[in-house]
Amino acid sequence: MKAAQRHWWLRHSSRLGIYLALLAASAFYLLPVYVLVVTSLKSYAEANLAGMWHLPSAPSLESFLRAFEQLRPHFRNSFYLTIPATLLSSLLGSVNGYVLSKWRFRGSEVLFPIMLFGMFIPYQSILIPLVQVLQRVNEMAEALWVPAALRGLVPGYGSIAGLAFVHIVYGIPITTLIFRNYYATVPNELVEAAKIDGANIFKVYRWVLFPLSMPAFAVVMIWQFTSIWNEFLFALVLTQNPAIRPVTVALYNLAGSYIVEWNVQMAGALLAAMPTLLVYIFLGRFFMRGLLAGALKG
């Protein structure tokens, strides 16, 4: 009886220890969230100095309104950038993954890791030529008399289309990787059977692979949406014109100016994080899979 009691206590105290440790870890992860929320609900006078841990005495949404006022055009830019770039790069990745898994050719096994290398490089190492080439694209558009109405679609330097184009190009490795690994799990017999029935390469894709692709599309689209929305270096270097800056650069500039109060900065940070956070909250399952695919497990 005594031994049993001691056993019970041991088992339960170690359980308790586990929960306490997890709660302590939770506090670390939630600390910034607490400060973000509390600070952005405060007025400027209250948001300063020693009182930053206190709850707001009179919670108001004023900081959010002021942050949103400043960030609104940049939110629009980010959506204009992220949505088309996500859709196009997912389609491209799907086609690449299809070819590399079901239409392998001599050398495709060597080609694949050579493509993958592109997702690890520090983008600083391609930034100087990239700026030059995109500037050249603008000059070409000018020389070719591209009508003003279509200028927005020219993927040149200092335009949202240019930035989207860059994200599509440098998104090729990761999107191809995820689709290729996903299609590798689709039995080749299905493809062979369709071919025997007379389906060509497009029909096999359209009627066999594509209908099975929705989970992979979900993973890739969520991955691309999150990374393009959060991206900073390309956005910073390729957008000299303040009017077309995405929200990460706008937040960076907002936080960099000393005139802007902390409460507005925190509200701005919370707003900028909101779209990807919502995606994470509602579609976290797919987000996880993208993350683990990024670790490249063969």
């Binding site: 586990i18 493509m115 960076y252 990807t276």
Partner: protein
Amino acid sequence: MRRLSWDRIISILLILPSILAIAIFVYGFIAWSGWVSLSNWDGLRPDLSWAGFVNYAKLFATPRFQIDIRNTVVFTTFFLGACIFLGLGIAILLDQGIRGENFFRSLFLFPMAISFIVTGVTWRWLLAPGDPATGRLTGINVLLGNLGLPLSRWYTDPTVVYIQPTSAVGQFLQQVGLGFLTTPNFGIPLAMFSIVIAATWQMSGYVMAMYLAGLRGIPEELREAARVDGASEWQVYRHIVFPLLRPVTLSVVIVLGHISLKIFDLVAAMSKKGPGFATDVPAYFMFETTFQGDHYSQGASIAIFLLVTVSLLVVPYLIYSTRREAEV
């Protein structure tokens, strides 16, 4: 038969644009950057005349760059250490069949969905030190002060901890010809810990998820068999679980390592180069040199240095995983 070869041609045509894009935008541009780094291009006007390795010689002789290398080593060491410790620790706790596992897992992973800029802006406010001299504290320092704990100047701290030449260890090192170790270039800049904390906050959940997936891949029978043989819980981990998690640790080191080597966003948003370059990193130095200073060839040399360090880490791993896949 003819149809099949027609499909074959189309399959090549479908992937050709991507191959060309990667060939030009990755490999072509890297070569182009390499060329710029060997040129005389200094200023807004492109000048691709041959300079040789002058830019690299100049770079390695630049004190700021030497400090950057030190900072990268310090940051990578502590960032990887903290992430693996926290990530593995939490993964083991979550693997004990606890209640609310999904909730905790989502909680620890959510920072991964956020931009480094948001993280940087938030932690800059959290770690704003206030003024410890007058007692007007801000951020984490308020909590530390209330608990009677020592305060830190966080990312505003210019202190570099290194082996003093006058200390016993320092004198010994000088006698055996290792006197260069007793300089700040082989020290630890305290400000860097602020970046480590923010980066760990963002990335450790990812490490947790990877280890948790690894733990779930270990058959329960293996552990049970060891327990039947009389192994204690610690011995089960020491001799069964940890060795089986080694491939996960390899992935973690590669993924976090290459992120750490090229870290830019977080530093830019939090502290920039910091006092006495205490939080400066090569990627930020490259950005300032190239796009604010217009020293293009010098900037390109930093970029190529970054690329080489990342490649040393990633290329063997890519070859290794391709081979392993070919075997399967």
